[in-house]
Every structure is written in C-alpha cells, then in structure tokens.
Symmetry: none
Subunit: 216 residues, 4 copies
DNA sequence: ACTCACGGGACAGCCCGTTCTT
DNA sequence: AAGAACGGGCTGTCCCGTGAGT
C-alpha cells in the first residue's frame, strides 16, 4: 500500500523527494482527489469536481489515470495510508497487548481523520457496497487487514498470558472495530463526539475485564 | 404509517379501509422502490430503475410523487417502518429493562432486514451525509428517536434499581446502537454473520455487568 | 365569431343567459384560458396552467375540447371578441369618416385590453408565425377583417368628399394599424404609455392633413 | 460581436486575428442558432434543433455555452449586430437630420432582415415578454438604445434649426419606430410588402411636415 | 505534459393526450 | 360530466471518455 509507483532514486529517504514532474502531478491529483471522493463517494464525485480541485483539464487527468475508477482507487489508498499512519503512531513500541489495543482505541477516538469526510475505509465500503465492485473489494481487503492486525495483537496477548484464554482474538477485533466504526457514524450523524467518547470508555472497561486474573 | 400490504383482521376500521386503485399503486411503488433506494442510495437510484421495478412509465410514477426526493422519503419511511415493526416485536410485553435491551439486541442480530440492502437508517444516513439534506435529516431524526427509545428503557432500569446508577442511559444507548450498527456493516463487508454474533454475545455480557449488585 | 355553439333558446337576449351546465363550463374554461394564452402564447401555455386556472382536471378539459389547439382557438376568438366589442363602442353611430377613424384610434389608445396580456391579435400572430398554422391563419384572418373595416371607413370618407382623393384607403388602414400596434409594443417593452400617446397625437394630426381642402 | 466571418482587409489588427478552432466553432454555432431563435423564439427552439443546425452533438454545444439561455443571448446579439450594421450603412456620412432619419426609414423598409425571421429586436421582446427575463432585458435595452439614437438625431435637427421646435425628439423616435415595426408585422402576417411601403411614404411625408418653415 | 474540442449517452422532470372509473 | 390513472415522448443539463493539437 505505502509506496505505489516507486521509481525513486536511492538516496531519497522520504517518499516524495525528487519525483519527476509527471509523478509530482500524479501525487498532487491523488491528494486533491482523496478528500473529494471521501466526502461525496464515487458516483457523487464528478470529473468536473476533480478538475476544479486540481486546476487541470480533463485531458490532463486522463494522462495519469486511465479511468475515474483508477483514480478513485489511488485516492482510496492515499486516504487510507494517511489515516493508518496518523492513527497507528508508535504502536510497535508499546509493550503489552492490552496497552496496544487501548492505544488503537484512543488514537481512533481522539485523532480526527486527516482526510476530510471521515473514515475512508467505511465510507468506501458503504458507498460502493452495491455499486462499484473494484472499489468495494479494495475496501473489503483493507478492512480484512485491519481486523487481522487487531486480532493478531489480541492473539499475542492471549499467548503471553496477558489476556484471558476464553475469548477469541477474532471476536476482540470484531468488537473493537464494530464499536469504533459504529460510534463514528453516530457521531457524524448526530454531529457530536459523545458516541465516540462513550465507545472509548466502554471498550477500555471491557478490555480490562478481559485481563487474565493473576493467579498465584 | 397506515397499514401496508396485508388485509389484516376484520375489526380494523381505519387501517386498510379499502384503498382506491391509485393508493394501491402508490403503495406498490413505495414497496418496490424501498429496496432499490436502500441498496443503491439516492443518487445511485435512477427513475429508470424505478420504472423497471414497478412496471410503470415515468408519467405514471410522477402522478403519485412530485419528485424523486419525495418518493425516496416515502420509501425510507416504509423501509424503516418495516424494520422497526419486525424487530420490535412484543417488546412492550417484556418485563424488566435489561430483558428488553437484550430483546432489542437479539432481534437486531437474528432478524435480517425485511428490506433488501440492510439497515435503512444507516444506509440513508451515510448515503446522504454529504448530499441530499432532506433525506439526511429524516434519517438523523429516526436515529435520534431510536437512541431516545433505548435510552429511555435504560433510564427506567436505573430508576427501578435494576441497572447500576453509575452508567448514563445515553451511553448505554450509544454503545448498543454503535456496536450493533458497526457489526452490521462488518458483516456486510465481510459477508459473514460473525461480527453480529460477536456483538450479541459481548453486548449481553456487558449488560450483565451493568446489573445492580444485590445489596443485602 | 360572436355566437359559437348556439342552441340557446329564443327569449335569451344576452349571450350567455340560460346555458346548460356543460356549456357554462365550456364558456368558463374559455374565459379562464384566454388571458393565459394571451400572456404566455400557445407553446408557453401548458395544460397544467389551464387546469390550475379552471380548477378542472385534464379529463374535464378534454371533454369540452378535443385538443389544446381547439381550446386555444376558442380562447383567441373570445379574447378578440372582448377587445373588439370594448374598443368599437358606438362606432356606428358616429357621423363622418374622419371622426370614426379618430374614434378608433382614441379607443385603442385609451382603453386597455380587457384580456390580460395585450392585443390578442398581434400576440397570436407573432406567437404562431413560425409555429402553429391553424392559429396563425385565425389571427391573419382577424387582422384582415380589421384592416378591411378601417379601409372601408376611409373609402367612405373619400367617396363622400370628406377625405382627399389622393390617398388610398388601404394605406390609411395600414398606417393606422401599423402605428397603433407598433406603439402598443413599444409601450409594453418600455413599460410606459408614452408611445401610445405619441401615436395618438401624431395619427390625429395626420388624419387632419388628409381632410379634403374645402373647395371654394 | 467583433468581426465575424470574412477575412476583411489586411490592416485590421485585432478584429479577426486568426480565430482558434474553438472560437470558429463558437461563432458558427451562434450564426446557425440566430435565425432559429429568431424564427421560433426561445422556448420554441430546442437544443435538438440547434444540434441539427450545427451538426454538433449536445456535448459539443455545451462546451461553448453553459446554457441555452447564454447561447440565445449571444445569438440575439449576433442577429442584432447584423441587422444594425446592414441597415445603418453610411449613416454617419449623411448630412442633415431629416436626411438621416429618412435614411433610417428607407433602409429599414428596403433591406430585408439579414437573419431569417424578421426583426430580432421585436421578436425577442415579444417572445420573452412574459417569459425569460434575461433575454427580455437584453431586447428592452437594445430597443432603448435604438430609440435614443433616433431621438438624438431628431434633437440635433431641432438644435440646428432644421426641424420645427414644437415636436419632441422622443416623439419623433417613438413614431418612426412604432410605425416601422408595426408595418413590419403587418407585412409578415399579410405576406405583402405593402404596409412597409405605405409606412415609408407616410413617414417621409410626415417628416417633411416637420421641416422648420423657411424663415422670412 | 497538458489543453482544447467533441461525441454520445444518461439523468430528472414536464409535456399532451387517452382511457378507465365513478 | 368530470376526475383519476397512466403512457410515451421530449427538454435542458450533466456526465465520462477520447483524440487532435501544441
């Protein structure tokens, strides 16, 4: 996901250092398109919108992407990357499975989506559920990866004896993500952060109840 | 909202009262349109789709509804009514706040949406969030009513001493609905019922933990 | 023109005394339709407009008229009749050709059209000139009658020695009607009565110059 | 507006300056649309008609004009320009106010409208009087300019002592234009040039009667 | 690398007219 | 005599995509 069209020279440490002009334009288009697709959905976004956002003409856009769908896919990847990076933070440095799960929850609740329009994963999944299958699969795969990564942390916690053995890792992942995403939607519809805060408190309480009772 | 399809029992004086032909057609259109709007969203549904689904021509449709928006609003009401009726069941006859909350959860998880496309409330809310404001408000109000009704049950449980006093009714409502809706989405995207089942188990456990400890 | 569908009984002295219900409705429709057609033209008037103006449904209208065109023709006749009656006044009682021509001019300038939208003859003629040929011919014939009647008065004035013999009656008619109708249009566009007043003054001066010089 | 089709003389620096392809097409569309709008009116002209007349598809047309209204406005300007240029001729070189007024009358009567459908000013004014306000104002303003220019010539004639002081310039303008436009309509409806010829003769006689009486 | 120019098709909405029903 | 119900067609607008030109 991270680095798409590499071709970068060796000494470049950061992603977009020293891109050719065409690639710069391509990245610029994607960055401009991401919030628009994320806000208005695939069908709800017109090439005209993208032209206005990028300052390019239609021909200019189609030089870099063979179709609206391809551009939308790239924009989805971009938005997801941004969100993942921002919300993951220094997750790997945190010791303890429960602490890492709490970290995930906290970040999700406290850090707003870096791309306007909210969680790109859910937005894309819902938007394309009965529509564009290419984008739908992209979103489904991303969700699967997210579920897997959370379940893996839970499994490690169980293996290490930190988490009770009578709960399945997959269930922990399902609950955390279900509750967080559900709360995010309520927050957007109700236009208040209360559901997200409630989700955080409740999930953290629930995680505490999963802690393996220290027997002697 | 009035009485839809079935003939029902004889003593109903006003409900079905022999619909005129036009009203029958109107109801037929709404029933046919509801799953389409629910699946493809407002923008994703064309009048052509509705013509195909109803067998009527455009002139025929526009006789019963002054705009696509009006038809979508009626279809939303219809779908929501169907879902509410089916999933509410004999809720009022159930004694005990916790039992009623469990009943809500169980029904939501076990009974599939009577209208194809999943939960019309969430679908409409997400679909129109950055689009049609009329439909968005309709969905937002419906969600608000749902939240209120769940919170009210929780409040009654607290008042009666059944539920602990240190949790707010609003939070209980937020968590139940967030988790259920979030799980429903995961289920749809992953195409497996596991997230819903996990949500049910976890929410019921959580509700048990809210029971006021019997004092001596 | 005057009496269309007669069938009226003998003792009725005025036109619409004692019409059957259907005929009353028919007359009512025509009276309601006339100003609408006169203001918005044939194409610019929709059956919906007529429904709103009459309070009838489409079926009700089409019972009395076989097509929109037929209704428009009747409405044109009605509007023209109204205008002719009102502006003719006691023309026949006036002695002298010049006085009668002046009377025509004065009436035209001073009396606003009884049917909203201005002179139905010109409106219809212009409106349908490149469109509906049936209505166009109706208007052309009405104009021809009007021209003839004015020319006839002029001819009588010439025959009686009141008007100079070196001007043709047809030219007098053309000038009077051209100037009046042209001034009416300027008045409508400029939204001021000045052009009509100027036309009156100038035409009257001009008529005076046509008076046969009193022989010695 | 600028300079249309022909290549013209060499020293024109800005007028034709080699139009780009798109501008050529744009001008071609306007030239093709002008007679259609002038004949059938704004509502009576469909984009389909314009497609047929230009050979372009809808997408092609809408590239050059953002709406039918904008195209109609341009077509009106074009038609008016054509008519003004053709009928004005070398007006400025003619000495004497009365001679110039006669020149205007003569040109109007003798030179047929270069754009099919007759006088675009009157056509548009009447057509849009109860409809499109944008076009109506355009026509009203053009009429106002025409009236002003005629009135100005009359005023100059009065100031120079050529025309009698007891007639207002505005009335002269009103009469000339009313009579000419009225005669034009009669000519179109009756399908004979007689009304226009009568108007010319009569207006010229009338102008002679306005000549200041030779001083003693 | 990008703009300009254009095609062809879909969209919601409104139109006129007919038939069925009361 | 009139309303209710419906058909089929057309309108202006917007859409995505392609190819010529620079």
């Amino acid at each position: 996901m991270a680095a798409k069209y590499p071709a970068r020279n060796l000494e470049s440490t950061r992603a977009n250092a020293r891109l050719r002009k065409g690639e710069q334009t391509r990245e610029r288009i994607i960055a401009a398109a991401a919030p628009i697709f994320n806000q208005h959905g695939y069908e709800g976004t017109s090439m005209q919108d993208l032209m206005a956002a990028t300052g390019l003409e239609k021909g200019g856009l189609y030089r870099h992407f063979s179709s609206k769908e391809e551009l939308a896919a790239e924009a989805f990847h971009f938005a997801l990357d941004q969100a993942v990076k921002l919300r993951t933070g220094n997750l790997n440095e945190i010791p303890g499975a429960l602490a890492r799960l709490r970290h995930i929850i906290e970040r999700f609740v406290e850090i707003p989506s870096p791309v306007a329009g909210g969680c790109p994963l859910m937005n894309t999944a819902i938007d394309t559920d009965d529509g564009n299958p290419v984008l739908r699969d992209l979103a489904a795969q991303a969700l699967r990866r997210w579920l897997n990564s959370v379940a893996k942390i839970a499994a490690e916690g169980i293996a290490s004896g930190e988490i009770r053995t009578d709960v399945e890792p997959r269930r922990i992942a399902n609950i955390i993500i279900s509750t967080l995403e559900g709360a995010l939607m309520l927050s957007r519809i109700e236009r208040t952060r209360a559901p997200l805060q409630d989700a955080r408190i409740t999930l953290e309480d629930w995680l505490n109840s999963l802690r393996a009772t220290a027997r002697r």
